[in-house]
């Protein structure tokens, strides 16, 4: 019975194969009754393998009297073809991928179904999570008014972009953008080179931020570019762009407002100094007139004292120069203008301001001492604005000492290194000091400790110093009076001024 032995062997071999399959495999008859099931099926259902044969598939898996609407076996019985579906087993909370393949007899009629079920719960969860995170990412990218896009690293063609970019092109360039479009297709000719340079810089140097003014000069964009990496490979360049046109405009307006205010403060400070300035002008003018009078008399004498007349003429020239310097200073102070940053020596600023205040200092009987550390580095600043600040601080200091006897009206102006990158200027008085509760507020606009004060001097000073990248602060001295101190960044070795 060799043949019988062979069949038995084949049957055992087949059964072993059947049971080795990790998916649940069943053979069903056309009435959904289980003819055979492998061990994976039994262990999935948690029943002994023998108990399966004869049971109805839909009864076992779904606890129902008839097959589900989406049952692939039912479909295969009808179509005579391979069918598959994802089926949810409620009782177990498990997703199965089910394939049903008809078994056909020689006449082509269905005699049964091979029903294979694979647990895809985890795979499906992972896929769902991926879809969910993609949806979140998309929502994130679309939730901003900023423009976000990326381009490929070769042709710089658009790979992905958000609605922000799409709308911008629609609105300002009338272009319906699509993936794959290159800078040549998207941008006016004049700006393509610049954009390619941006992209290349991101590839070369990595992430950077820059400001970009559109060729029409109507928009200012703040751009943040960065290479996109997959492992070590750069597969694109991302760009985050924000339209800061409105911001810039309001900043400019603020700047203009600030300049107008600074101008107003200068004018009012000058008002306080009018008599001092008149004196400054009167001295040289008086000397010129008197010298001219003397010269006339000397020319009438016999013999005319020509030598002295010559030295008179030299003096007249000198005084004329002196008067026009005063006028130039005045003009500089009165002019409303934008910040002009140039390298300055702080000691010059101090000297000029003290000179400007000379008469004021004299008539108020204040003694002024200037202490400047030697070898201070220059600072970058606007001469007029810095003189304005120093003038404010010095006049404030003098005001604070009004009630002192003249010998106790001492003002010290000090300039020193704060650290190697900062120059500090201090104005110390011996006046009444600043009440502790007001120390934090004296730089606020319209906050004045003086009866006739506008409360703008220190506020303007702070704005001006901050515009220089410096800071200003006040503290009371250990002795009488207060010290106002401002710092300015020092200019070190000359750096390339990128435009």
């Amino acid at each position: 019975m060799n043949q019988a032995t062979d069949y038995l062997a084949m049957a055992r071999e087949w059964q072993a194969t059947f049971d080795a399959i990790q998916d649940a495999v069943m053979i069903l008859d056309p009435d959904y009754r289980i003819v055979r099931a492998n061990t994976a099926t039994a262990s999935f259902l948690g029943v002994p393998p023998d108990s399966l044969v004869g049971a109805r598939c839909h009864q076992l898996f779904h606890g129902k009297d008839c097959p589900n609407e989406g049952c692939p076996s039912r479909a295969a019985l009808r179509s005579n073809r391979h069918e598959e579906a994802e089926v949810f087993i409620e009782a177990k909370g498990v997703w199965l991928h089910v394939s049903s393949d008809p078994i056909l007899d020689a006449a082509g009629s269905v005699t049964g179904i091979v029903h294979t079920a694979r647990d895809i719960t985890e795979r499906k969860a992972a896929r769902n999570a991926l879809i969910e995170s993609q949806a979140q990412l998309l929502a994130l990218v679309e939730s901003t008014l900023d423009m976000i896009w990326c381009v490929d690293p070769k042709r710089f063609g658009l790979m992905m972009f958000n609605t922000g970019l799409k709308d911008y092109f629609q609105q300002h360039r009338g272009i319906q953008i699509e993936p794959g479009m290159t800078p040549d297709q998207l941008l006016p000719k004049r700006s393509t080179a610049q954009w390619r340079a941006f992209y290349r810089r991101a590839l070369r140097e990595g992430p950077f931020v820059t400001e970009y003014v559109t060729t029409s000069e109507t928009h200012v964009l703040l751009l943040s570019l960065s290479p996109l990496m997959r492992g070590a490979e750069v597969f694109g360049i991302s760009v985050f762009g924000r339209d800061i046109t409105a911001l810039r405009k309001s900043e400019n307006q603020l700047q203009q407002l600030h300049e107008r205010l600074a101008h107003a403060a200068r004018v009012s400070a000058l008002g306080q100094l009018t008599s001092a300035l008149a004196h400054e002008l009167n001295q040289p003018l008086g000397a010129i007139l008197t010298n001219a009078d003397a010269a006339e008399l000397l020319l009438q004498s016999t013999p005319p004292a020509l030598k002295e007349v010559r030295s008179i003429l030299a003096d007249i020239r000198k005084d004329n120069q002196r008067a026009s310097e005063v006028i130039q200073r005045l003009r500089r102070l009165l002019k409303r203008r934008e910040l002009q940053m140039v390298p300055l020596r702080i000691e010059e600023i101090i000297q000029e301001t003290v000179a400007l205040l000379r008469s004021e200092i004299a008539s108020r009987k204040v003694s002024v001492r200037v202490e400047v550390t030697t070898g201070l580095p220059p600072v970058a600043g606007d001469r007029v604005h810095l003189e304005q600040v120093l003038l404010n601080l010095m006049v404030n200091g003098m005001d604070a000492m009004d009630a002192n006897p003249p010998e106790a009206r001492r003002l010290v102006v000090r300039a020193s290194h704060s650290d190697e990158r900062t120059v500090a200027v201090e104005v110390s008085d011996c006046g009444h000091g600043i009440p502790a509760d007001q120390l934090s507020r004296i730089f606020d606009p319209f906050h004045s400790t003086k009866r006739e004060g506008l409360g703008m001097g220190l506020a303007i000073s702070r704005t001006l110093i901050q515009a220089h990248g410096g800071g200003i602060e006040a503290h009371n001295n250990r002795g009488p009076g207060a010290t106002l101190r401002f710092t300015l960044p020092a200019l070190s070795a000359p750096e390339g001024e990128a435009g």
């Binding site: 008599s275 008149a278 004196h279 009167n282 001295q283 040289p284 003018l285 008086g286 000397a287 010129i288 007139l289 008197t290 010298n291 009078d293 003397a294 006339e296 008399l297 000397l298 004498s301 004292a305 002295e308 008179i312 003096d315 000198k318 005084d319 002196r322 008469s359 200092i361 004299a362 008539s363 009987k365």
Partner: protein, 209 residues
């Protein structure tokens, strides 16, 4: 009064202005001296010889007005011509009250400055003459005996010898002798002259008590 040319003292901390004023005054024939501060001027004791002061009101250190006070306290105060910047009204008023001769605003014309200086110098001459005369008068008065000094104010108040004698409990004759000595010592010819002198010396008349 020493026989020296009057000196115009110019005080101004502004070298260039001071130089110009000194030049102009010299060109106009004046003896001049310049000072950079009030302290320098005070140290030079300018009142020793005749002259006047041209002074800037706004100066560091002691201001012109402070200097004016210090100079006014001196034995021989010099007249002061003030120079000031335009429109310094409070200082002007103060200086005028303190007896400034003139108050000029800078810049100042020769036609204004020179007459002001001449005026100040003339005033100094008059003041010096007057002060000299007064000093002489006082010297004469100091030679009077106590009794004569007692009689003098009664005489100038217009009392008759008889009335004075009664008042002082003296004989009329004695009073008459005192009166003659007073007239002689004070070197006056008439009662009218004596009255004027007494008033210049600031002697109180009994009637004013």
């Amino acid at each position: 009064m020493k026989e020296t040319r009057p000196v115009v003292h110019v005080v101004d901390d502004d070298v260039s202005f001071r130089t110009a004023v000194l030049r102009l005054l010299r060109a106009a024939g004046h003896e001049t001296r310049g000072y950079g501060s009030a302290a320098e001027l005070l140290a030079a004791e300018p009142g020793q010889s005749p002259g006047c002061i041209v002074l800037d009101v706004r100066m560091p250190g002691a201001s012109g007005l402070d200097l004016q006070k210090a100079l006014a306290a001196a034995e021989e105060p010099l007249p002061i011509v003030f120079l000031t910047g335009h429109g310094d009204i409070p200082a002007t008023v103060q200086a005028m009250k303190a007896g400034a001769v003139d108050f000029l605003t800078k810049p100042v014309e020769r036609g204004v400055l020179l007459p002001a200086v001449e005026g100040a110098l003339a005033r100094d001459v008059r003041a010096r003459t007057e002060r000299t005369r007064l000093r002489e008068l006082r010297a004469r008065y100091d030679t009077l005996t106590p009794r004569e000094a007692e009689v003098l104010p009664l005489v100038v108040s217009g009392l008759l010898n008889k009335q004075i004698a009664a008042g002082l409990g003296l004989a009329e004759r004695t009073v008459k002798a005192h009166r003659a000595r007073v007239m002689e010592k004070m070197r006056v010819e008439s009662l009218a002259d004596l009255v004027r002198m007494a008033s210049q010396l600031g002697l109180q008349k009994p009637g004013d008590r």
